[in-house]
Symmetry: D2
Subunit: 143 residues, 4 copies
Amino acid sequence: MESPLQFKHILPVQLRFSDVDQFGHVNNSVYFSLYDLAKTTYIHDVMGRLLDLEKEAIVVANVSANFVSPIYYSDNVAIETTVVHFGTTSFRLEQQAVDVNTHNVKCTCTTVMVYYDLKSQEPMPISDAFKMAVCKYEGHPID
Amino acid sequence: MESPLQFKHILPVQLRFSDVDQFGHVNNSVYFSLYDLAKTTYIHDVMGRLLDLEKEAIVVANVSANFVSPIYYSDNVAIETTVVHFGTTSFRLEQQAVDVNTHNVKCTCTTVMVYYDLKSQEPMPISDAFKMAVCKYEGHPID
Amino acid sequence: MESPLQFKHILPVQLRFSDVDQFGHVNNSVYFSLYDLAKTTYIHDVMGRLLDLEKEAIVVANVSANFVSPIYYSDNVAIETTVVHFGTTSFRLEQQAVDVNTHNVKCTCTTVMVYYDLKSQEPMPISDAFKMAVCKYEGHPID
Amino acid sequence: MESPLQFKHILPVQLRFSDVDQFGHVNNSVYFSLYDLAKTTYIHDVMGRLLDLEKEAIVVANVSANFVSPIYYSDNVAIETTVVHFGTTSFRLEQQAVDVNTHNVKCTCTTVMVYYDLKSQEPMPISDAFKMAVCKYEGHPID
């Protein structure tokens, strides 16, 4: 299966021996660590900095993943990430785990993330600076 | 938020210091380890045995989770699990992470699992024995 | 192998499917998560509270573990913990992972921990309150 | 602190957000995942192949680690690995986690590994092929 979406952000990930389960497959829960890593890197790459974790946070509200085929320890894997939608206080990311050698998609994942004010402990509107940085990075407008 | 679903299978889980991230929250990826643990335990409790991992496997095809509120290291958490639907080669599980003290739901999760023949590497029909064991355990018929 | 040391603090631990590696063994790195969990619980049980993590920390300076025999997912395991020595700013813990059913020792571990002032970022003398609480808990004096 | 030992094998490692604990430090147990990853890579690089995991295994008998200073998520870390001693059925590895930018040593680790026959479930003599491959890789004889 090849992917119809276009991804500009591609992060090669380093698998660990401890990621592999009894079947020789990378354990499902590890995928979410890798998606998380790619999200953090995406935001850093787009913003040119890490978030100011004293003030703001971007928290995961919903995750939905399709496991297409297993990942093995010897596989060369990258996580591809793109933002596909902006709401008022939330946005939607599409991600996929791809075999770098075959371009086969191993797993796809949709995540809804919420922009969060750490002081008030409430969702807050996504800043225009963040939206603009994402659109500039992706090279096209995003709904 | 209290849950509308009824869960018979309730597994208290033991959190680890390494499960907690920089915000003091249990990391998202850990939830899936806990859901996995509860699934494995559910199947064992329902079948009266572990799966014969030489022959058959039950693999996760799709996972969708809603993160309602954070879990802290000092929280007392249980994972509740029930089967809500049988297809031909797949079935659907509902799970939730619940604060044992307050009964607040921290996270809900729907999983589609596929019955898998390890020899042919193909999905196979869910056995009647498994369906019956689940219905007997749950105490009611399941679509 | 049975253990010569006496342990009063025994923490049954919950293994997770994701803890198991390709050989069906609990991965070595997981042992340290379990030892950490037992340390945190020990300190909580001895002190009657969690540490005030805004002010003080107890950090691991050195860990030395002997892996005696593998732990399997179906094993019933407990971590046993005791303090065997107090220095000025550090103390030594002995721990072991034990099969609850057979009493076989699976792994032993010695840890040197340092009492740490989070404000000055320097080691600080272990408080008499902590020493007394440990000796009272263990039921005998400790060098 | 700079290291007195010479390391030829240097593996840059990719940290994950889930590796970081409540103090913002990479959790102690994660170090052992990283050391494991570096060991597996070392053996692969030295032997030109992965081990034949159906027949032989190299298992960890003893691990001893000194935690010198914390690793932060934003640190650039590599694991350095070398073999320093061969016994009959075991050998000793030295490893260290190093800040790639400052060359500061964050943690050092000594591991005793045992060559293991999976069929007889007994330690077996280290093959001359393995010893020679290691010495050739390191560029000097090893006791």
